[in-house]
């Protein structure tokens, strides 16, 4: 009997995927597997630390680190140096306003975020970094993180949860903040909060999620639009379509400028793309950050 292979698309369409941690983990793992295609394990095992460079011995250095083989050859004392392994705290923070319920192509923005974060959780765990979700104070393991993700509760507006957002960046410990949002805000409240997070010398990566239909406001056969945050319904006419297009174009440029200015890493995500692409972009940004550091 042929084993049934569930594709990512099937999992995405299944509503249980984002409600059951195990299913979510399955989806995330499949994505990570796709991401690692072409990578392979090293053939030989090395020492428990990775050699990087030699340094001349100076008084005060630990004699245990002296490379005696080199001393035997050169009659000079050298110390073997290895890169220092830093564990960073990764904070995954989703936008939990109801605007994230917007759906396109069968998946909502919030589910897309959960999916993305679940994949990131796996990556973080592989890196053996510390993982935090939203404003949790305790370091989470993968299971706990997935549990939190599947139980994400939405509120009407971002400002309703404003206090918790500020709490999540409150402690002085340096961390990597990954924030995923559609950036529907009323008085720049999200940008102010992110600026504050960036000022505290945290690394901030922002994912800006939009849908293609949403950007073009190309809702065929629809004559009314409903605001998911306020519940207000409006007649959809040409003028509103034009306003929407202008808004999204301006918004994109504005966010790009603001985040670049404040040294916040900014990634545009389209709901129509696979999250693998988003993760690739994320890793690319991370590698750039690592190089800079």
């Amino acid at each position: 009997m042929a084993a049934s292979i569930i594709s990512i698309q099937q999992l995405l369409v299944n509503p249980n995927t984002f409600a059951i941690p195990k299913q979510l983990q399955l989806l995330a793992q499949k994505t990570i597997t796709q991401l690692n295609v072409g990578m392979h394990a090293a053939k030989k095992l090395h020492n428990n630390f990775e050699f990087n460079q030699f340094k001349s011995y100076t008084p005060g250095d630990d004699l245990r680190l002296v490379d005696w083989k080199t001393f035997g050859k050169t009659k000079k004392l050298y110390i073997k140096q290895a890169p220092k392994i830093n564990n960073i705290s990764v904070h995954l923070i989703p936008d939990v306003s109801k605007s994230m319920l917007y759906e396109e192509g069968g998946i909502s923005k919030i589910n897309f975020t959960i999916y993305l974060f679940a994949s990131l959780c796996n990556l973080v765990m592989q890196q053996q970094d510390d993982l935090f979700f939203f404003n949790t104070k305790k370091k989470l393991n993968l299971k706990e993180a997935l549990h939190f993700l599947t139980r994400t509760k939405l509120v009407n507006k971002w400002t309703n949860n404003q206090q918790q957002y500020y709490q999540s960046i409150n402690n002085n410990k340096k961390k990597l903040i990954i924030y995923c949002s559609d950036f529907y805000e009323y008085n720049n409240e999200m940008i102010e909060w992110l600026n504050l997070a960036a000022v505290r010398k945290n690394e901030v990566i922002v994912f800006y999620i939009t849908g293609k239909q949403e950007r073009d406001f190309d809702f065929k056969n629809a004559n009314h639009i409903k605001d998911l945050e306020t519940g207000q319904t409006t007649i959809l006419n040409k003028q509103i379509k034009e306003s929407a297009k202008t808004y999204f174009q301006n918004r994109k440029n504005y966010l790009k400028n603001v985040f670049t200015k404040n040294k916040i890493n900014y990634v545009e995500l389209s709901m129509n793309e696979l999250p693998v692409n988003a993760l690739s972009k994320f890793l690319l940004i991370r590698s750039k950050i690592a190089n800079v550091i």
Binding site: S97, S99, M100, L101, Y102, E103, K109, D182, Y184, E185, Y186, E214, F219, N221, A222, N223, H224, I225, K226, D227, L228, E229, T230, Q232, T233, T234, I235, L236, N237, K238, Q239, I240, S243, A244, Y247, R251
Partner: protein, 412 residues
């Protein structure tokens, strides 16, 4: 409000179409959830209310368009219902002998007939006191003009009295009720008999009234039986050919013809042309020749009907006819040119017999003021009112369509 064509009133249902469209559209409302509309400016939110307001006006305008179109088709008559007196009227001339009235009145009262006695000025006759107002009105035509002017639509009208030839020569306006002529003998009995024959020719009998009993019987039995023949005479082009020295007469004739054409609601062209320009190519339904020296025979074959104004006609008889022509001799002081032409074109049996008519048109310098007076009192006024109303309604419809289009454009 009454309608001339009430059968078209079912079109009023069409006024529901805009409402149905609105309801269907409302039923087909498809809503798409979007993240947030906070980016919509306040102005655009306000526009939402504006659109709803516009939709209401759009519905109203469309409904009005349908209603007005229905009104045009149904031809409303804006008259006071109280004035529609569906009774039998007896128009009594004031010089009728009392003994005749008493006889007629007894017969009618005994049988409880619903007959209203009116004198020439449409004043109620005081039958109890057998009292008659001595009025100034001359002939029955004016009484009918008054009926039309006051929008009184009786079931039938019977005219009772003795008349001389001048009083009887004018026809009554077109009516949609039956008219009976009960003629009492006057001094010149032979003329009265001849007139009675003419006036009652549609009944195929002559009424020579001598006794009140027979008179009353005639009034009742002939009610609802006689209707004036409908006019069904289509004209395409009326050409007035004139000699240079008859310019004044031509103008009068032209104005009168225009008035008649308007009165009869016809799409008829009236063209003036100098007689010397008449050639083989000029054709039409009716030709008016104004001048003495014109030869009717040359052009008569190319026209269905030919009328000629000439000063040569001078006959004493009321109507005399030979095999080809009918001569009319109208009273220039009293008759009105439009009425006269109207009669010539539509009411004369000579026309039906395809006779050519030679007419002596009464021309005087006061024609235009007379014509205005006639418009105030005769049937012309009703028609012109209706035409004006239709013009206004059509203009309003066009305006509404324009508004509807603009609202649609704003709505999108």
């Amino acid at each position: 409000m009454l309608f001339d064509n009430p059968k078209w009133l079912w079109l009023l249902l069409a006024a529901l179409i805009p409402l149905l469209i609105h309801l269907i559209k409302k039923g087909n409302r498809s809503v798409i959830n979007v993240g947030s509309l906070q980016w919509l400016k306040h102005k655009e939110y306000q526009q939402n209310h504006k659109i709803k307001f516009e939709q209401f006006w759009l519905w109203l305008v469309r409904t009005l368009i349908f209603l007005l179109v229905t009104f045009i088709v149904a031809k409303p008559t804006f008259i006071n219902i109280e004035k529609i007196n569906k009774q039998h009227l007896l128009l009594v001339k004031n010089d009728i002998p009392t003994e005749v009235i008493v006889n007629v009145m007894d017969t009618i009262n005994t049988n409880n007939w619903n007959v209203k006695w009116l004198d020439w000025d449409l004043q109620k006759v005081d039958l109890e006191n057998e009292h008659f107002e001595k009025t100034e009105a001359i002939h029955p035509y004016e009484a009918f003009e008054l009926l039309a002017f006051k929008n009184i639509k009786p079931k039938s009208v019977s005219v009772l009295g003795s008349f001389n030839e001048h009083q009887l020569k004018g026809e009554i306006p077109v009516t949609d009720y039956s008219v009976n002529w009960i003629l009492l003998p006057n001094k010149n009995e032979s003329i009265a008999s001849e007139l009675a024959t003419i006036k009652t020719q549609n009944l195929n009998k002559t009424i020579a009234i001598q006794q009140g009993e027979y008179l009353a019987k005639t009034i009742i039995t002939d009610m609802d039986t006689e209707h004036l023949p409908d006019i069904n005479f289509s004209l395409d082009t009326i050409i007035i050919a004139y000699e240079k020295d008859k310019l004044q007469i031509v103008e009068v004739c032209y104005a009168a013809l225009k008035a008649v054409v308007e009165y009869q609601k016809m799409a008829t062209k009236v063209i003036k042309v100098q007689a010397e320009n008449i050639n083989q190519n000029v054709k039409g339904d009716v030709l008016f020749l104004v001048g003495d020296s014109l030869d009717t025979k040359l052009v008569s074959k190319r026209f269905t009907k030919v009328f000629q104004y000439t000063t040569a006609i001078n006959t004493n008889s009321f109507i005399s006819k030979n095999s080809e022509n009918v001569y009319f001799n109208f009273d220039a002081e009293r008759d009105k040119v439009p009425d006269l032409i109207n009669e010539m074109l539509f009411k004369n049996d000579a026309i039906d017999k395809k006779y050519n008519a030679l007419v002596s048109l009464p021309i005087n310098s006061l024609f235009f003021s007379n014509f205005d007076n006639a418009k105030q009192a005769s049937g012309f006024i009703n028609i012109s009112k209706m035409v004006d109303l239709m013009q206004y309604i059509i203009a309003i419809i066009l305006l509404l369509i324009l508004v509807e289009r603009m609202l649609c454009r704003f709505g999108n």
